[in-house]
């Protein structure tokens, strides 16, 4: 039998029962839409994390005090009863290392920032000038903390966008004196907008020399040492090197943790890939349910059309002709449903985030579209083959008698 004719016959049969065909298709449409939508949310989250982490500077190794045995976990935020990392540790590894380009000691704290009658509790980052380049930050006006400022413990401060806006409004802040804790600092620079990265608002901070921060918080414990590697290929060598240098310095104890940005990235990637897979799997279940719907309706259809099958066989239809006719019907249901589902899924992935009150990154990927398409086609074949086979094996004499 001519394949065009088979297609025509199958389509006519589907169109003869429009409501039934649409409802059956709806099962597949919902399944495919769910696959596309959920995968695009998962992929969106993955890409978001990737961009954000790259935006925080690549090739970075972060040394934090205390030992965490698992690689790639998040660095601890508390500084408890563990051996400190000092400003000198930072200078030491920078001086002795052959793989590192920079090593920036960082002290992190919270202090009250005051200007005239306005005050604000704010994150204070004590650092050295190289921090600017490592974290990919930009100065809008004035200058950043200089090495001289660090060496002389000068009381200078660089304001993030939010800090500047809240305290000064439209007033010019450069050269003004602000009170940080109990000391007075001169504003030397204003930062450009950076935005929120992974929940940390880089605009709601102030920067001061690391030495001044030590004095301000009365500590010589570093929060972390951020280092950059000259050549990204030497990341692992650099880690080994820092370890060796610091262990020697810390009386042969490994009491610190080195985390690389790519560790964090790959951990997040793994988590989010698993999450995407789980979401796709759950959505896949609804696609399978849609497939069962197709099988169900095809079985009904075979029964209803028993006489038609008998007539076709009487005039010369072979097994194969009947099998293909019914198989095309089920595949058409699933593939057309799949295509509609892809359009709705991809469309809503793009449109829905605009109507949500919160930020939801979505990314429609080719692989999810292809997967959904071929999966739905496979569902049509898998769940269509049994009813189609049943139809093709009907006995022509009994079928002709069927009422």
């Amino acid at each position: 039998m001519n394949i065009n004719e088979t297609f025509k016959v199958s389509l006519e049969a589907l169109l003869a029962n429009k409501i039934r065909s649409s409802l059956t298709m709806l099962g597949v449409i919902i399944g495919v839409t769910a696959v596309i939508l959920l995968v695009s949310v998962g992929e969106g989250a993955r890409l978001y994390i990737e961009t954000e982490l790259t935006g925080l500077g690549s090739n970075l190794l972060i040394v934090t005090p205390g030992k965490v045995d698992t690689r790639g976990s998040f660095r601890p935020h508390s500084v408890g009863a563990i051996r400190k990392l000092s400003y000198d540790d930072a200078l030491f590894i920078k001086r002795r290392s052959q793989y590192l380009k920079e090593a920036v000691p960082v002290i992190l704290g919270t202090a009250n920032l005051k200007y005239k009658n306005l005050s604000r509790d704010i994150t204070v980052i004590g650092l050295t000038p190289e921090y600017l380049q490592l974290r990919i930050l930009k100065i809008e006006s004035g200058s950043f903390v200089t090495q001289v400022d660090v060496d002389t413990k000068k009381k200078v401060i660089v304001l993030g966008r939010t800090a500047k806006r809240e305290l000064f409004g439209n007033e010019n802040a450069l050269g003004k004196l602000v009170t940080v804790g109990e000391s007075r600092y001169r504003v030397v620079g204003i930062m450009s907008k950076k935005g929120v990265s992974l929940g940390f608002d880089f605009d709601d901070v102030v920067f001061i020399p690391v030495t001044s921060a030590g004095e301000l918080f009365d500590t010589d414990k570093l929060f972390e040492i951020i280092t950059s590697v000259k050549n990204p290929e030497n990341l692992d060598k650099a880690i080994a090197e820092i370890k060796e240098l610091l262990i020697k310095r810390h009386s042969n104890k490994e009491d610190f943790t080195i985390t690389s940005q790519s560790d964090i990235l790959s951990t997040m990637q793994t988590i989010l890939t698993i999450m995407t897979g789980v979401l796709a799997g759950i959505a896949g279940i609804s696609l399978v349910v849609g497939g069962i719907g197709i099988m169900n309706i095809m079985l009904v259809s075979v029964r209803e059309r028993t006489r038609e099958i008998g007539i076709r066989k009487a005039v010369g239809a072979k097994h194969k002709d009947i099998l293909i006719q019914f198989l095309i019907e089920s595949i058409t249901l699933s593939v057309v449903g799949g295509i509609i589902g892809i359009i709705i899924g991809a469309g809503s992935s793009v449109v829905i985030p605009f109507f949500l009150p919160f930020y939801l990154p979505t990314e429609v990927t080719l692989w999810s579209v292809l997967l959904a398409f071929f999966f739905s086609a496979a569902v049509g074949i898998f769940f269509g083959i049994y009813p189609a086979r049943k139809a093709s094996l009907l006995d022509p004499i009994e079928s002709l008698r069927y009422e």
Binding site: M1, N2, N4, E5, V9, E12, A13, A16, R307, E308, G310, I311, R312, K313, A314, V315, G316, A317, K318, H319, K320, D321, P396, I397, L400
Partner: protein, 230 residues
Amino acid sequence: MIVLKDIKKRYQMGDQSIDALRGASLVIKEGEFISIMGPSGSGKSTLMNIIGCLDRPTSGSYKFDNKEVSQLNDDELASIRNEKIGFIFQSFNLLPRFTAIKNVELPLIYSRVSSNEWHKTALDAMKSVGLENRLNHKPSELSGGQQQRVAIARALVNNPSIILADEPTGNLDSKSGEQIMKILQGLNEDKGVTIILVTHEPNIAQFSKRIIHIKDGAVIKDEKVTNNRK
């Protein structure tokens, strides 16, 4: 053309087995017009199904055009039905969703005839039963007699060598029934198509040239009709 020799057919129904045919033998030559008559349960439908290659005998030999067909598989039988046999049923058996012309085209789509000849071939068949102005009517829009004529057109469309008609007038009033019989008679006389008719109405059987009586699964009487109806 058709040689049946000692055909037996046994059906299994649960624990019971029923012998529908118990050694029927029959020879039908090309160009004959035969009626098969018999009470219900006599095995005439089973015999029809075997002659029509819809069913296989349990034992015995069936030669169709000198070819043994009793043991062919389903697809081989389907080819023979498609190319050599036309069926006409008591209940017409047209596809209700299709127009008359599409119904007539049905055997062609399973044949080797190329698709651009389907319409013309089907149209010729519709003309030969006088329904060329009812091409796009659905079966429900046609009278019983017209539906049976569409069924005859469908049976004719592949130029079969035999037409099997199973009680073709059973669902028709006597006038339409007569019309159908005259068409069949015409096909037999003008085109030489072999026609095998199953009926239990003696006056319908009178249209044919030979009557076979069947009882209890065997041929009990084979008579010539000398003075057949026209």
